[in-house]
Chain length 276, copies 2
């Protein structure tokens, strides 16, 4: 998927929402539990209910891996379902991988070829040769962790280096020399909008994937103020607030309502910033 | 598996060798390719041939994930085979995971409960709450990336922080406050022995898992000199040099010969340092 495709979709839907498919089998409504692929059935309903309000889906691979073979199968089926029925949506495998070149190549193959995801989140700690193999695929995306939304982001990401920059700023600076904004994005947590501004200054053209709005407490208006650029440049993720908007049989309608509510907020923001 | 169990096994076998099961389906000898679980069959022969020379096995999860469902099944079967037939061997899932607490919990469940691994490699970039969930299991191990053996380790790990320490040193310093040496180890790449000495000074009691000897060019004697402590404290990994010692029908014998050669070198080192 190209950058132009993503921007066009955002403008058409008046939404930069990404729905995080962090599907926890224990939180799926009772009436679906009988099915032997309950996680996939749940995802299918969520996707059908929310597709018109969002531009991307982000299955978090941990939630599938933790269910072993069956989980892996649910992940495959979920991605296949999106790619078949909603081919314009960006599918982000939230896997946070990163290993020596030889091994990263295998992960790239797993996520881009086997699973057919459009994008994968990658951890920067191991440096350029751990990221490079993910950059060798046409119209596929690397979304590099820069500043995450958890409290542990203070432990290393926010430390100051000798030259005065924080580690997360240095990650962004270096990575912008590795790949252009048509195949690289950054993860920038919603809980620290003032730091999103710093990253925007270092990477004016790049898309940011912003987790942490909703359950983690990030504020959408503040994120937009700090992160929007003149080609939008933002994907904001919400997971739990949509997936578990209701625990009853009306879970899909409740998910659609929550996604629609966020879309409307985003539409107002896009109009306000004269982006649509 | 306890620290005392690991040390006792090293002393008994006169070896601190870990065999990396980075099994590439394309490199498996032709006569095994017909089997529909060729990767597992290959691993089984390698394990049977090398078990007496090594104390740990380290399947690299990327090599299994890249083969989709079938790969995941081969990984499960491989770990199950080791735990059933060689229960004294430490099984390290080389997965380099790390995510927000909520998600890391799922990975911990996947690797420690579903797959029954004894240890998992974890990436430090996201800080304490990304590592903590892996520490909640009795006799299971976190092996935290500190200094890796690839060229990209220069990009971030070796940068100097404001206080004069490198990032990899700061990772070790902080992590030693998170967990003791009975449940935490560090990955310290073999290609930079002088940096292994620095890490040893910061973490005198901890075990180090050292990749990069063999195919990646690290030197065993230099690693031992820099990394051994008075309770050994080292696991040295070799993957490709053992797995692909021969590409013919004699691959298992050739793997045993290479593992035996490394074991003998390690025995000499252990005697020289008066550790056995």
């Amino acid at each position: 998927m190209t950058k132009a495709d993503i921007i066009a979709q955002i403008k058409r839907k008046r939404s930069f929402l990404c729905v995080g498919l962090d599907t926890d089998i224990k939180k799926i409504p009772d009436h679906l539990q009988k099915s032997n692929d309950a996680v996939f059935q749940f995802n299918k309903h969520i996707i059908d209910a929310t597709a018109k309000y969002c531009v991307a889906y982000k299955p978090n691979t941990a939630f599938y891996e933790s269910e072993g073979l069956e989980g892996w199968e649910n992940l495959e089926k979920t991605i296949h379902y999106i790619k078949t029925n909603y081919p314009q949506h960006l599918v982000i495998a939230d896997a946070k991988r990163g290993d020596i070149g030889n091994t990263s190549k295998r992960y790239a193959k797993a996520f881009f070829e086997k699973l057919n995801a459009d994008a994968i989140t990658v951890a920067p700690y191991m440096g350029f040769d751990s990221v490079e193999p993910f950059l060798g695929f046409d119209n596929k995306w690397v979304i590099l962790l820069s500043l995450t939304s958890n409290s542990g982001s203070e432990d290393f990401q926010q430390l100051s280096l000798k030259d005065g920059h924080s580690l997360f700023e240095t990650v962004v600076q270096k990575a912008t020399t590795w790949a252009a904004s048509n195949q690289l994005m950054f993860v920038t947590g919603a809980t620290k909008p003032e730091m999103i501004s710093k990253i925007r200054a270092l990477a004016p053209d790049y898309f940011f994937l912003v987790p942490g709005v909703g359950a983690q407490g990030g504020n959408l208006d503040a994120v937009a103020e700090a992160g929007l650029n003149n080609l939008i440049g933002l994907l904001v993720n919400a997971s739990r607030s949509i997936l578990y908007a209701s625990s009853g049989e009306d879970f899909a309608t409740a998910a659609a309502d929550e996604a629609s509510r966020l879309q409307k907020q985003m539409e107002i923001i896009l109009i306000k910033h004269q982006l649509i």
